[in-house]
């Protein structure tokens, strides 16, 4: 009967070999399982379904994507943190600046244009020159329009008050399309939750993706 001699040296060598191998297999295995089972997170429709909103002064989308080097300077320069940077779930848009007004609307401080090193976001002189998007009122949801109340929050929040949003009787907001910059302050403050009554949409001519 052959004897198996277990020496201390042999035991330790096997132990350390085994530990390292188990460690590596465990690390690679868990990463693999994680990657294989992870569902891609679906983006809010501002980023994928409907065209997304870019910071004030941004070029048209194709030109913007060519120029943006994903350096995040706009996002860091933003005075209120309105500029978000989507992660890898956004694919080619990974690291490009996006504004989601429902979470945080642009205050039109125009710092992003000054921070951008490549001119993907142009530096603007006046707030009125920005064309982030266009606000639209859903009259069925708006409490002032549908008669369930009298609100006027969007009118009050608008940085171009009286120019971009005017009011009819009963605080009913009316968006002036030529003047609206699409900053989204109205959308952020809209009292209708879950599905805002006033929302900012990208302007059609800027949509090329």
């Amino acid at each position: 009967m052959p004897k198996t001699r277990i020496t201390r040296r042999g035991f330790l060598a096997t132990a350390r070999r085994g530990t390292m191998r188990i460690g590596i297999v465990a690390a690679v295995g868990t990463t693999g399982i994680e990657l294989a089972t992870r569902r891609p997170r679906i983006l809010p429709r501002e980023t994928v379904g409907a065209p997304h909103l870019r910071p004030p002064g941004a070029l048209a989308e194709t030109e913007f994507l060519a120029r943006c080097i994903r350096c995040q300077r706009c996002s860091e320069a933003c005075s209120v943190g309105a500029i978000q940077l989507p992660g890898s779930e956004a694919g080619i848009l990974h690291g490009t600046p996006i504004i989601r007004p429902q979470q945080k609307a642009c205050t039109l401080c125009l710092r992003c244009g000054k921070a951008c090193p490549t001119g993907a976001i142009q530096s603007l002189e006046k707030k009125d020159d920005a064309r982030i998007g266009l606000a639209k009122v859903d009259k069925r949801l708006c409490v002032s329009h549908n008669g369930t109340g009298a609100c006027g929050a969007c009118y009050t929040a608008c940085p171009l008050r009286g120019k971009a949003i005017t009011q009819e009787m009963q605080f009913r907001p009316i968006v002036v399309e030529e003047k609206c910059v699409g900053c989204g302050q109205c959308e952020e403050v809209c009292i209708v939750h879950d599905n805002k009554a006033i929302r900012v949409w990208a302007r059609p001519r800027e949509v090329t993706v």
Binding site: R17, R70, K114
Partner: protein
Amino acid sequence: MKRGRLVVAIRRCVQLSVIALLVVLPVLSQYGHYRAARAIEDLEGTWRGTVFTYLERTIGAMPDPQALLDKFVGGLWSMKLFGVSITDPLAVLEMTAASRAWHPALWISLLIPVVLTVLLGRVFCAWICPMHLLLEITNSARRLVKWAELPSWDIHFGRGNKYLVLGLGLVAVAVLGTPLMALIYPPAVIGREIQAGLRLHTLTAGASVILGIALFELLISRRWWCRYVCPGGAVYSLLGAYRAVRVRRAVQECTACAKCITACEMGLRPMVDQMGAECDNCGDCVKACPEGALGWVVSIEDLRRPGEFAPGYAPGTAPKAEATTPTRSAASGTDITVDSPETRVGVA
């Protein structure tokens, strides 16, 4: 030897401060966001609350905090430091290739990195790039792999591969019209991951790029990325090929012990005066030399020879014939074919 140790110590400090800067800049910008929203009080009890309250007491007490915050933004890909814009040369190439647009401010922001690289060589890599530090640690960890008797290899590739990566990358960027190398270029990726970690409390796909490179270097090819692949390193290599500050060997003191060859992260051979465009003046070889035969010189007279020096050349001394004999045969040899301690394959 002492000189090398000092330089490497300074380099470690610079590397660590760069990493600290990469964390501080996003934190500062976040502080600005919370400050503008007057929401710092809401964070009480969290680490961010503590940091921001401290910042509010120091920066917030200054006359114009927002103007100060505006002067410090970005990461290694493109950053504003003291109000001066600095951009990675690869970013400029990518943006120009993708958009075919001429943006003067972007090219002005190239000034500092390009001048530094032309004078000092590929110093961005060894002194600033956080990936270099990570891969140096990975390189040391290969000893651990060996100790655990795991299979590991050290496959060599052509050093020219990175120029190919750069060229094909730029073609792809030009065709697809969007900067793609930003998604794999480690300094840019690391900056973005730090941002994502601080703001979204998660990591993105970039982290797996970093991890993959590190794992590949750990098990398959030593210092693979920086030597053979990195497109940014290729740009810096091209710019720094004719650098003015170079490592030079005093032939009289060299005993041909090959310690510098083993030490070189870039796979160069200081012992046989083979210091190509990859040399990033990291000081590892100078530190490793037991005889103090290696040191830096500022030389403009041999700018025409980017990589190699005449065998037997030493500054201020006449070359001795017998001192050069152990190295002369190797000096004429080509790059990778000569066997050296570092080409040995790991335990299989």
